[in-house]
Symmetry: C2
Subunit: 595 residues, 2 copies
C-alpha cells in the first residue's frame, strides 16, 4: 500500500523515520531532522526537506552518507548483503548480468575510484527517466566521473543520492511523473532526427531547414494535432505554430514556445523542452475538455542558434517584425542562400510572407518560455526550477596589449613592458569586479601570447572579453570599469592596447507581473522559489521587444552543461515544470481575461 503525505505529517518522529526507512541508505538521521519541517505541502516539499537536511549537514555527515552506500556491482551485491532497495536497483540495471569483461571493468573502476576519492561511486542507476541505465551508460559515466575534481565529485555523489531517494519515494508514494515521462519520451523521439556526418551516439545536430529540421517540424505538427490543438501549421520562416482556442473566439492569447533547431553536437532538451512542455499541458486540457478564458499559442521557433547562417533568432524575429530582408541573401557553408533553402523546404521565401507573420501585441497577454537552465546554478542549489529575473545584457570585445618583447633573463623586473602581465591583471580585475555584483559575469575566454617563447618577455598578448549583467546599467557600469582598468594598467606599465567591440546586446528584464506569476506557480508545486538571471540569450529576448515576457528555468544535470551531448534533465524535474506551467495557466484563468 502506498505511503501518503497525511500519514507522514501526522506520524510521530519515530514513525516518520520508520516510514522513510531505506530512502536514504542506512541514514535515519536525515528523516529524523526533516521531521521538524512538517507539515509538508506535498511529495516535492518532502523531497526538498530531506535534501535540505543533507545540504545543511556537516562535511563528515555528508561523507558518512556517501560511504553508507554499497559499491556498484561490488562485494555486497555478490554477498547478497545489499538493502532491498539497492538489490532491486542494481539488478534492474542489469548489473547482476554483467559479462566477465564488464564485471572486471567495473571492479577496476571501483578500485581506481576508491583509491582516488576514498568513497564508493554512487549513481542513480535507474537514470533520468527512472527506467534504468544500460551497463554501457553506467560504465561511461563511471569513467567520466573518475576524472572529476574531488569536490565536484563529492557534490555529484550527494545529488545522485537525492535522485535515488526521489525515485524510491516515488515508488513508496506510488506516483509516476506522467507528464515528465511523456515530454522526455517526445524529446528522445525528436532526437532520432539528426544531420548526417554525426554518427556517434548522442551527436544531435539539427540546423535550419535541413532534412532533419523538416522532419522535426513534421513530427511536431503531428503531435500537436494529436494533442488536440485547434490550429496547427508551419509558417513562412519554418516556425511550427499550434493554437488551442480559448473559451471564446475573441479571447486574448498567451504566447509560449522555444526553438527546435540545435547547435552542432547538441543535447536533446535545449529549446525543445519549451515546445514539448506546453504541448503536454494543452494535451491535458484537451483531454479534460477544458477551455480557458484565453487561447494558448505554442510556437516551435525554427531557428535560434545561428548555426547554418550567420544570423540568429530567425524564428522569433519574424513574429516581432524584425526579420532583416538581407538575411534572405545570406549563404550557408555550401553557398546556398537562405531564400533558396526556404523554397526548397516548400516555404515562399518572400519578405511579403515573412512580414505577414508579425504579431499584434494587443492580441497577446504576454510571452512565457520554459528552458533548460544551461548553467550550474539550480544544480548547485538542489532545486528543480528557477524563475528568471532577466536575460542578461552583454558586451564582447577582442583586445590586444602591446609591450616590448625582451630577454627574460637579462631584463630586470623594473624595466619590463610585459603585455601578458597586463592582461593577467585585467583578467583578475574582471573576475573580481563581476563577482562583486549579483548576476553579473565577466570572462576572458581567449588568451594568447602569439609565438611566445619560454625565455622572451611577452611583447604582445591577445585576449577576449565577455561581460554580461542583468540590466543595461549594470552591464555598462562593468564595461566602463573594465575599460578604465585596462587604460590604468597599461598606463602604469607603459603599454599600448586595442579593444575592438564585437557584440552588444541589451538586457531583457522579466516583466514583474509575469515573473510574479511564475513565482506563484513554482510555489504551488512545493518547490522553494528561487530567482536567477539568464546568462544565455533566448527567444524571449526578441519577444521582449513587443510584449511582456518571463521565463522558467529547469535544472540541468552534469553541472548544467549544455550545447553538449551530456546535457540532461530528468523526468521528475520536467514533471515539476509542467505542474508549474499548469498552475500558471490556472492562476491566469482565475485572474480573468485581461491581465
Amino acid at each position: 500500500m502506498s505511503l501518503n503525505l497525511n500519514t507522514l505529517n501526522a506520524a510521530s518522529v519515530e514513525d516518520f523515520v520508520a516510514l522513510l526507512d531505506g530512502v536514504y541508505e542506512h541514514s535515519p538521521w536525515i528523516a529524523r531532522r526533516a521531521a521538524s519541517a512538517r507539515p509538508l505541502l506535498n511529495l516535492t516539499a518532502l523531497k526538498q526537506a530531506l535534501a535540505q537536511v543533507v545540504r545543511e549537514a556537516s562535511e563528515a555527515e555528508q561523507l558518512g552518507l556517501i560511504r553508507a552506500h554499497p559499491e556498484l556491482a561490488g562485494k555486497a551485491m555478490l554477498a547478497r548483503s545489499l538493502t532491498a532497495e539497492s538489490t532491486g536497483e542494481q539488478s534492474r540495471a542489469g548489473l547482476s548480468d554483467c559479462s566477465p569483461e564488464e564485471f572486471a571493468r567495473i571492479q577496476q573502476l571501483n578500485a581506481d575510484y576508491n583509491a582516488r576519492f576514498g568513497w564508493p561511486f554512487i549513481l542513480a542507476v535507474r537514470g533520468p527517466r527512472g527506467l534504468g541505465l544500460s551497463r554501457a551508460e553506467i560504465i561511461a559515466t563511471f569513467a567520466r566521473r573518475l576524472a572529476q575534481p574531488a569536490d565536484v565529485e563529492r557534490a555529484e555523489c550527494l545529488r545522485q543520492i537525492h535522485r535515488i531517494a526521489e525515485i524510491r519515494l516515488n515508488d513508496k508514494f506510488g506516483v509516476e511523473p506522467i507528464l515528465g515521462n511523456r515530454i522526455w519520451d517526445w524529446a528522445q523521439a525528436l532526437a532520432q532526427h539528426s544531420e548526417p556526418g554525426f554518427c556517434e551516439a548522442g551527436q544531435l545536430t539539427v540546423t535550419y531547414l535541413t532534412e532533419a529540421h523538416q522532419a522535426v517540424a513534421a513530427q511536431l505538427q503531428t503531435w500537436m494535432r494529436e494533442c488536440g490543438f485547434d490550429e496547427v501549421g508551419i509558417d513562412a520562416v519554418g516556425n511550427v505554430v499550434g493554437t488551442y482556442h480559448g473559451a471564446r473566439a475573441e479571447a486574448p492569447r498567451l504566447l509560449t514556445g522555444s526553438h527546435y533547431d540545435t547547435v552542432r553536437h547538441a543535447g536533446p532538451h535545449d529549446g525543445r523542452l519549451g515546445v514539448l512542455l506546453p504541448m503536454a499541458c494543452v494535451r491535458e486540457l484537451h483531454a479534460a475538455a477544458r477551455r480557458l478564458p484565453f487561447a494558448i499559442e505554442v510556437v516551435a521557433f525554427s531557428e535560434e542558434e545561428g548555426q547554418r547562417y550567420p544570423a540568429t533568432f530567425l524564428g522569433s524575429s519574424a513574429l516581432t517584425g524584425q526579420f532583416d530582408p538581407a538575411w534572405l541573401e545570406l549563404q550557408d557553408r555550401e553557398g546556398i542562400p537562405m531564400r533558396a533553402a526556404m523554397q526548397a523546404a516548400g516555404l515562399p521565401g518572400t519578405m511579403e510572407a515573412i512580414t505577414a507573420l508579425a504579431r499584434d501585441p494587443a492580441r497577446y497577454l504576454g510571452f512565457v518560455e520554459v528552458h533548460i537552465e544551461q548553467g550550474p546554478v539550480l544544480h548547485g542549489q538542489d532545486l528543480a526550477l528557477g524563475v528568471v529575473t532577466s536575460i542578461n545584457g552583454s558586451r564582447r570585445y577582442l583586445g590586444k596589449v602591446i609591450g616590448q618583447a625582451a630577454h627574460a633573463g637579462t631584463t630586470p623586473m623594473g624595466q619590463r613592458r610585459d603585455a601578458a602581465a597586463a592582461v593577467a591583471e585585467l583578467l583578475l580585475f574582471v573576475e573580481q569586479c563581476a563577482a562583486a555584483s549579483a548576476g553579473t559575469v565577466g570572462t576572458v575566454g581567449q588568451l594568447q601570447v602569439p609565438a611566445g617563447s619560454i625565455n622572451v618577455i611577452p611583447g604582445r598578448c591577445q585576449f577576449s572579453l565577455d561581460l554580461r549583467a542583468p540590466s543595461d546599467a549594470a552591464r555598462d557600469a562593468l564595461d566602463a570599469e573594465v575599460r578604465e582598468a585596462l587604460i590604468r594598467i597599461c598606463e602604469r606599465r607603459g603599454l599600448s592596447w586595442t579593444l575592438q567591440p564585437t557584440l552588444a546586446a541589451n538586457a531583457a528584464p522579466s516583466d514583474p507581473s509575469w515573473q510574479a506569476r511564475w513565482e506563484r506557480a513554482v510555489a504551488a508545486t512545493g518547490c522553494r522559489v528561487f530567482q536567477l538571471p539568464s546568462g544565455a540569450g533566448h527567444d524571449a529576448m526578441r519577444l521582449h521587444e513587443r510584449m511582456p515576457q518571463a521565463m522558467l528555468f529547469v535544472r540541468g544535470q552534469n553541472e548544467g552543461i549544455s550545447h553538449n551531448p551530456l546535457e540532461s534533465t530528468n523526468n521528475d524535474d520536467i514533471e515539476l515544470a509542467a505542474q508549474a506551467f499548469t498552475h500558471l495557466l490556472d492562476h491566469l484563468a482565475a485572474e480573468g481575461h485581461t491581465p
Copy 2:
C-alpha cells in the same frame, strides 16, 4: 688646439662653461652644474659628470634640453640657423644632399614625430662608429623610434644627446677611440660571413661548422697571427686558440675569450666582442714588445648558442672536460651527425682528440670574459661598463592548469573553475616575487588557452616559467615560492595542474678576487663602478666549474636588445672596455705571477 683636462680642471666655472660651449646644444646649465664635480680624472669622467647632471635634472629641464635641438634636416638646416656642431653633423650625414623623396619622407616623419611626442627627433647621426649613418639608416631608425612608447623615446633622446656630446667632446679633445674603432671594424668584417638564406641586411647567422663559421675561424686565425700571438691554431672542436707567451716559458696563463658562433638573425657583437677585444689588447702589447709575467690565451669558442645541434657550450665544454661523447651522434636539421660535420670541416671528430683539449686548472690564473650585456641595465644607467657579480642560476618549466570549460554567460563567478584566471594569478605572483629580490627575474613567456572561445570559460591554460637568480639559494627559494603559489592557487580554485621541468642550471657567482680586479680596472678608466648579475648564460659558466672566473659587460644600445640585428654598441664603449682589459692586465702583472 685641442682642449685638455688640466685646463678644464683649473678653469673658473664661467670658463669651464665657455670651454664646453656647444657640447650640449643651447644648454650651458649642464656644464655649470657639472663644474662642481671637478677635479675630473679624465675625459670619461667628464662625460659621465655631464650625463649625471642631466640624469638628475627635472623632467622639465630634460624636455627643455631635448627641445633645444633642431629637427633633422628641418627648417633650421634650410635656414642655415643651426649651431656649427649641428651643421657639421647633419651635412656629414649627407642630410643636406637628400633626394626630394628622402627629404619629403623625413619631413613627414618630423611632423608625425612631433605630433606624437611634442619634441624633435634626436639622433646622433655620426652613429656608433662616429663616422656618420647613411640616410637610409637614419630614416629606418626614425620610423622605428616613432612607434616606441613616449617614455622610452624620451629616454632614448637623452641618450642620443649624450652620444652627440661624447662625439663633440672627442673632437674638442682631439681623441679617437683607436682600439674601439679597430674592434668595431673587425666585428663588421666578420659579419660579412653569414649563412645563405638570410639575404636581408643585418641577417647574421653563423652556426657550428657551416661554411660561414669556418670562414670566421680562418679570419680570426689570420688576425691573431697579425696581432703577434705566438701560437695560433684551431682545435678539435673548432675553437680558435691564440697564445701570447709570458715573460718566462713556465709562466702561468690567463684564459679569456668568448664564442664566435651566433644565433639565427643575430647582431655582430654577441660573443665576438670577447674574442676581438683581447686580441686588440695583445696587439698593443706585441707592438710595444711587452711581455707580462703570465701568458694570455685567447679562445674563440666555436659553439655556445645551441643552434645547429641540440646542445650548447660545445667549445667551452671541451676545455673543461665536459664534452659529452653522445653529442657526436646528434644530428642537425638535415640529418648530418656532428661527427660528420667535424670531419667535413677537417677536424678529427674523435673523443680522443676532444678529451685532450681539457685544460689543467693548475696552469691557469683564471678566466675572464668580456661580453655585450644583452640587457637594458647599463643602457638605463648611462654607463658603458658593468662588472658581473654572478651568472644567474635558472629553472624552467612548462605548465598546464586544468579547470572546467563552461558557458561564460550562465556560470556564476562563484561556480567557475577558470584555468586562465589561475595562471593569471600565478603570473602576477611570479612578477611580484621576483621583483622583491635584487637580480632575480621570473617570466611567463608562453601563455595560451588552447582553442579558447570568447564565450567559454577556459578549461585549460598552458604556460611556461623561467626563473633566474644570482645564487642557487635565491633561485631555489623563488622556485619553491612559485611552486607553492601554484599549489595554493589551484587548491583554492579547485583546479589541477602539471609542471614539467625543462631546464635547471646552477648559478656561477664571480670569484671575489677576480670581480675585484674588474672593479679596479673599471675605476681606472674613469667609469663609475657598477655591478650587475648576468641573466643570460655565457661560456664563463662552464669555465666556472674548473677555475675562478669573472665577467665584464659592455653596454648595448637600443635598450640592450640582443639576438637581433638591432643589437649594437659603439666605438667609445668598446674603447673603454679595452682600456679596462688593459688595466686588468697591468694590475695583474703588478700583483706578481701567482695570484
